[in-house]
């Protein structure tokens, strides 16, 4: 029987959503206040869900310490208290919308978590308590 295990973490970061090849007015139309040129910040909350079988010996799906460590190394450490556009690739080229940040988190975690009997099942990223995205690895571009 598959079991889902979710770990939550938080990071605070600034960003600006704009496409350098578009005018300021076009960026405002696409992203609203999020296009303000000098950036603004959020307290992001990320919920990472892995799916696996409960080990009959340990009674665990996965070692939570390792999940915490991977999440910390791949997401929290590089993104916390950073300006995403300037300090975190690929957001020097890709607008750090909630969708794109969730996709990047998925891409960073997937190869480090997937193994026989375990897979990354969902990344939920809250930009604010009132806006979040869920990504499960389906084609999305």
């Amino acid at each position: 029987m598959a079991m889902f295990l979710t770990r939550r973490a938080e990071f605070s970061a600034s960003h600006v959503c704009s496409n350098p090849s578009l005018s300021e007015a076009e960026n405002q139309a696409l992203y609203g206040l999020a296009a303000n040129p000098h950036g603004h910040g959020h307290n992001y909350v990320v919920e990472v869900t892995v799916e696996g079988e409960t080990d009959p010996v340990t009674g665990m799906v996965f070692d939570l310490r390792e999940l915490k460590q991977v999440l910390n190394d791949q997401v929290i450490e590089p993104m916390d208290h950073r300006f995403l556009n300037r300090e975190v690739a690929p957001f020097d080229r890709v607008p750090p919308t909630t969708e794109n940040v969730a996709l990047e988190i998925w891409n960073r975690l997937k190869p480090r978590l997937d193994r026989p009997g375990l897979r990354l099942a969902n990344v939920r990223l809250y930009e604010t308590p009132d806006l979040y995205v869920d990504y499960r690895g389906e084609p999305c571009s």
């Binding site: 919308t97 806006l131 990504y135």
Partner: protein, 133 residues
């Protein structure tokens, strides 16, 4: 990918089926049948499913907020659901029926490439209703 946006509105309602006797209504709806109605601070979560557009978004946030704000919230926020909402005339304004009315109203003029995945309404922190589109 799924995008969920949360909105809030406050409204009053009374649960009562005129075809039933007062005793039956009280048995069926309990306190929700009290004659002068009562209100809730509702939370509405709207979930869209789709691919990213050229801007890296499932849907434009301003367009979404305007669509929900003008199309839904302006008609139900600080209103009496029994008397003030056209879609609920002749229907018991339970949150089940409200969720269905909101889903139908959204789909009628849906302007997004992404599809409506679900509508979720919390009537209180303890009562939550979710409707797949």
């Amino acid at each position: 990918m799924l995008l969920t946006r949360r909105y809030r509105f406050s409204a009053s309602h009374r649960l009562d089926v005129p075809a039933l006797s007062p005793e039956e209504n009280r048995r069926l709806f309990g306190k929700c049948n009290n004659p002068y109605g009562h209100g809730h601070d509702y939370v509405l979560d709207v979930t869209l499913e789709g691919r990213l557009d050229e801007s890296g978004q499932i849907a434009n946030r301003s367009t979404l907020d305007r669509f929900i704000g003008e199309g839904i919230l302006a008609r139900i926020d600080h209103r009496n659901l029994n008397t003030d909402v056209a879609e609920l005339q002749g229907i018991v304004p339970t949150t089940e029926n409200l969720a269905a009315a909101i889903r139908d109203a959204l789909l009628e003029n849906w302007p997004f490439r992404a599809r409506l995945d679900r509508v979720r309404i919390s009537e209180t922190n303890r009562n939550i209703f979710e409707l797949e589109s």
